[in-house]
């Protein structure tokens, strides 16, 4: 069919394409680099559900609250065992170890202009306990309850705050808990003016603070659009002690895809990228415009064996699993740059953390142990795995090494919350998970790995030991004792013992400790990642 008028189609299509190209050319993309006075960070922030420090407990929100609010005390990012003044200029504990007194700095103000005094501090702590949201346990574990907190936590002067605990805890434990986000100081006057009363009960500004700001930190929260952006601005009312923000604005863009973060960083549309994969970090190593910084994070990854499964409950089987992980290969490849092989439940940097690494890949030894347990030919077992990296890669590698000893591992993939729901219901065989320190004290991890006060199905708390049905009355007592030991040296030794016992007999196959990495443009200065989510100070970063 040769048709001359077909040229009409040809012409029409060309015309359309030409006009499209012209349209595209009519605008040129604007200057790519980010504005001089704005810090732009690409980070996955879809975990934020609330901006209220009494409620927020996610990694992203932790970081934002760490920059936007102040607390009584903070720790030195370079040496977390050192405590530094925050709002409090000095503090002491009574001889019986149950009364803490804090003297505040004078002349402090909130971003709103309201004065900051002991009344605000006491009220903020009381509020956290009264609202009793997820992070409240950090404070309530010291015996602060809804009906007693108003007496136990009080302002005894315009600049003096007193906190009474129910037992004599290790003072470092109490101080470290007060550096956590839940102990942030809020603007009482502002929040009470936004309070909503329902059925005669005031909400203490809870409804309003979910999406707003009432703090005194170097950066104030200007806007939060869920799964899109968080905008922070310099707080001109911040004290010198709190810190003056080096840039006028900090914009955090929600970018989920690592490749996209990398492209933005390479092009200069983002100053910092926080969630890059090992391969993207490798590729950026050659880029002169990009540098990176890394910090050991208080997060540990593990496989756990449900003790409700009779085969997995056998001590030889538990040990065999620990000899079947190819720690070396995983360390060199799957977690390169983003983690370090670690075989203890206390991450490096915490008091008493052990560096011992007794396990390595030894198939023969594992087979012998399995034979001793009565399973010379292996057995079948399932693992609930999150379809996220590097967890997925590590599980697949584990599947292969387990096979060498005859253990058939069936992988049940699922999304994060799916697998978590199953885990909390104790209906798994093996689970691959992670745990991040809630505050910078060893009790935070001991509390969950080495304590199981109630192993029944109706238990009120579900520590990781409970989730794997690991019944450990003796170890629980030891962990409790360590939490109350006031001598630092003795305390460290107690945790060493607990970790040794844990390595031998626990159903946890500890894998690695996370290294948090941030890649940033070379013209940035002052970016340091803290060991906890709330100790990365974006306000200290400057752009040349």
């Amino acid at each position: 069919m040769s048709l001359r008028r077909i040229n009409r189609i040809t012409r029409r299509t060309w015309a359309l394409s030409a006009s499209a190209v012209l349209l595209l050319a009519a605008y040129a993309p604007l200057q790519a680099a980010t504005p001089k006075d704005t810090l732009v960070m690409a980070m996955a922030i879809d975990d934020i559900i609330s901006l209220d420090p009494a409620e927020a407990f996610e990694i992203s929100t932790g970081e934002i609250i760490g920059n936007a609010y102040e607390r009584l005390i903070r720790f030195d990012v370079n040496d977390p065992s050192k405590l530094l003044p925050g709002i409090a200029k000095s503090w002491k504990v009574s001889d019986d170890g149950k009364t803490y007194t804090f003297e505040l700095n004078a002349g402090l103000k909130f971003a709103s202009g309201n004065a900051l005094g002991a009344e605000d501090v006491a009220w903020s702590l009381q509020r956290a306990v009264l609202l009793d949201k997820t992070p409240a346990f950090i404070l309530t574990q010291f015996g602060l309850k809804k009906d007693t907190v108003k007496d136990r936590v009080r302002a005894t002067g315009p600049l003096t705050v007193v906190i009474e605990t129910d037992k004599a805890y290790a003072p470092t434990l109490v101080y470290n808990c007060l550096t956590a986000g839940v102990a942030s100081v809020l603007d009482k006057k502002l929040l009470m003016s936004k309070e909503v009363t329902k059925d005669g009960v005031g909400d203490l500004g809870y409804g309003w603070l979910k999406t707003n700001y009432a703090g005194s930190g170097p950066l104030k929260i200007r806007d939060w659009r869920a799964n899109e952006i968080v905008a922070l601005e310099r707080n001109d009312n911040a004290s010198a002690a709190a810190g003056k923000s080096k840039t006028a604005r900090v914009i955090i863009r929600h970018i989920k895809e690592s490749a996209t973060q990398r492209l933005l960083l390479e092009k200069g549309d983002a100053d910092i990228a926080r969630n890059l994969t090992p391969q993207d970090l490798d590729a950026l190593a050659a880029n002169k415009d990009v540098k990176s910084t890394a910090t050991a994070k208080g997060t540990v990854y593990y496989f756990s064996l449900n003790q409700k499964n009779p085969i997995l409950a056998k001590p030889e089987v538990r040990e065999a699993f620990k000899w079947l992980v190819d720690y070396d290969a995983i360390g060199k490849t799957l977690i390169k740059n983003i983690g370090v092989v670690h075989q203890n439940f206390l991450p490096q940097g915490l008091l008493g953390a052990s560096k011992d690494k007794p396990y390595k890949l030894d198939v023969a030894k594992a087979k012998a142990l399995l034979a001793k347990a009565g399973h010379p030919n292996g057995f079948k077992v399932t693992v609930d795995m999150r379809t996220a990296q590097p967890v997925q890669g590590i599980t697949e590698a584990y599947q292969q090494t387990l096979k060498q000893a005859g253990i058939e591992l069936e992988i049940l993939p699922g999304d994060g919350k799916q697998t978590l729901t199953k885990y909390r219901a104790r209906s798994h065989d093996i689970y691959v998970g992670q745990w991040g320190a809630d505050y910078w004290d060893p009790h935070t991890n001991a509390d969950t790995f080495a304590r199981n006060p109630d192993n029944s199905d109706e238990a009120k708390t579900k520590p990781l030991a409970w989730r794997n049905a690991w019944n450990i009355p003796e170890l629980t007592k030891k962990s409790d004792a360590a939490a109350q030991e006031r001598d630092g040296g003795k305390r460290a030794k107690m945790y060493q013992e607990i970790q040794a016992e844990f390595r031998n007999s626990s159903p946890f196959v500890m894998l690695y400790q996370q290294t948090e990495v941030a890649a940033f443009r070379a013209n940035l200065d002052g970016l340091k990642l803290g060991p906890t989510s709330d100790s990365t100070y974006l306000w200290a970063v400057s752009k040349k």
Partner: protein, 348 residues
């Protein structure tokens, strides 16, 4: 009453009943299946660290302890009053969330379908007319590439080439950070909002930035739908060009271009409209992979995120929107059939 008026009322009544039942059916299926999925929504709100009593409190507030049918009735009752519940993840009313995310998807999908249909239909006609020729094969291969290559791969490659290496377009996101807060978002459609701002202030930079950010993801979706639309156009055109009336028209001496455009294509329009409508509706559903790669805060990401966290209010809200889109587009194309092709009119 006149017979035609009676018929009209009956048709409208039937229409209303059926549409209402559709919504109810969609909601019911989504709701009941959603409530049995193995994810605990309280985890999304309170997190994994929450003590058991906090989780129980959350479950109470979400009404999860009531029997399922009662929960459903409560939901429908509130929905009829315009209250679609609160999203557990964003703590805002679901309606507000949807009004924020849907325009992003709408803008992207519209650009995509304009490119897809605007280029796809002529290309498909061309391929059908020059059947077996180079153009036909080129269109086929191009279409297949667009259809069988994973969209995240195309997206990332496009970003690497056009954004990172060549700098022809702006990168991921809807607008440059510098303009993020410089104008009012009233409609949520970037082009519209920045244009209004530009008209009132004379500053066109924000508009240009929005356009530049829209170009690549829009072109990607356009290419995707172009692949499909061109193939289907070719198929429908081949059907028509083989008919006897074409032979007769040629015998009558009509020009080729008239035959192709005013007769063959006209008759192929009915199924073609279906195809374009289906494509558009598919794009409006939001492509979660495109939105992830291009950091585009649209409906696809919203629904997927909510689903992963068992945020059923948000999922149901999103489903209602998607359902409305499909129903509306299908009804619209049904009406369009009757206009375009008398054979489809009901003569009974």
């Amino acid at each position: 009453m006149a017979l035609s008026v009676q018929r009209g009322l009956f048709a409208t009544g039937r229409f209303a009943v059926v549409v209402a039942l559709t919504y109810l059916g969609l909601l019911a299926v989504t709701f009941f299946i959603g409530r049995v999925i193995p994810v605990d929504p309280a985890l999304a709100v309170a997190g994994d660290r929450a003590p058991e009593h906090v989780l129980e409190q959350v479950r109470e507030e979400l009404g999860l302890n009531l029997p399922l049918p009662e929960q459903f009735v409560r939901y429908v009752g509130r929905a009829l009053q315009g209250d679609f519940g609160t999203s557990v993840l964003t703590t805002k009313p679901v309606l507000e969330d949807i009004l924020a995310t849907f325009p992003a998807t709408l803008e992207l999908a519209t650009v995509g379908i304009i490119i897809g249909a605007g280029f796809g239909i002529p290309l498909g006609v061309w391929a059908a007319v020059r059947r077996g020729g180079l153009v036909d094969h080129a269109v086929r291969v191009m279409g297949l590439v667009g259809y069988s290559v994973p969209i995240f791969w195309l997206g990332l490659m496009a970003l690497v080439l056009f954004y990172a290496k060549l700098g022809w377009v702006s990168g991921p996101g809807r607008i440059d950070v510098a303009f993020e807060y410089s104008f009012d978002r009233t409609t949520g459609l970037m082009l519209v909002d920045t244009a209004r701002y530009a008209l009132s202030s004379g500053e066109w930079d924000a508009f240009r930035s929005a356009l530049s950010h829209l170009a690549l993801p829009g072109a990607l979706l356009g290419y995707f739908s172009l692949a499909y639309i061109s193939r289907m156009t070719r198929s429908f055109m081949l059907n028509e060009l083989a008919a006897e009336y074409i032979v007769a028209a040629r015998a009558k001496g009509l020009s080729e271009s008239r035959i192709i455009w005013r007769h063959a294509l006209r008759n192929a329009l009915v199924p073609l409209v279906t195809v374009v409508a289906l494509s558009y509706a598919g794009l409006l559903e939001g492509s979660v992979l495109t939105e992830t790669v291009f950091a585009w805060p649209g409906l696809g990401l919203y629904i997927t995120n909510s689903l992963q966290n068992a945020d059923m209010n948000a999922v149901l809200g999103g489903t209602i929107v998607v359902g409305t889109v499909f129903i509306a587009l299908n009804l619209f194309s049904d009406a369009l059939y009757r206009v375009l092709d008398p054979r489809t009119r009901d003569t009974r």
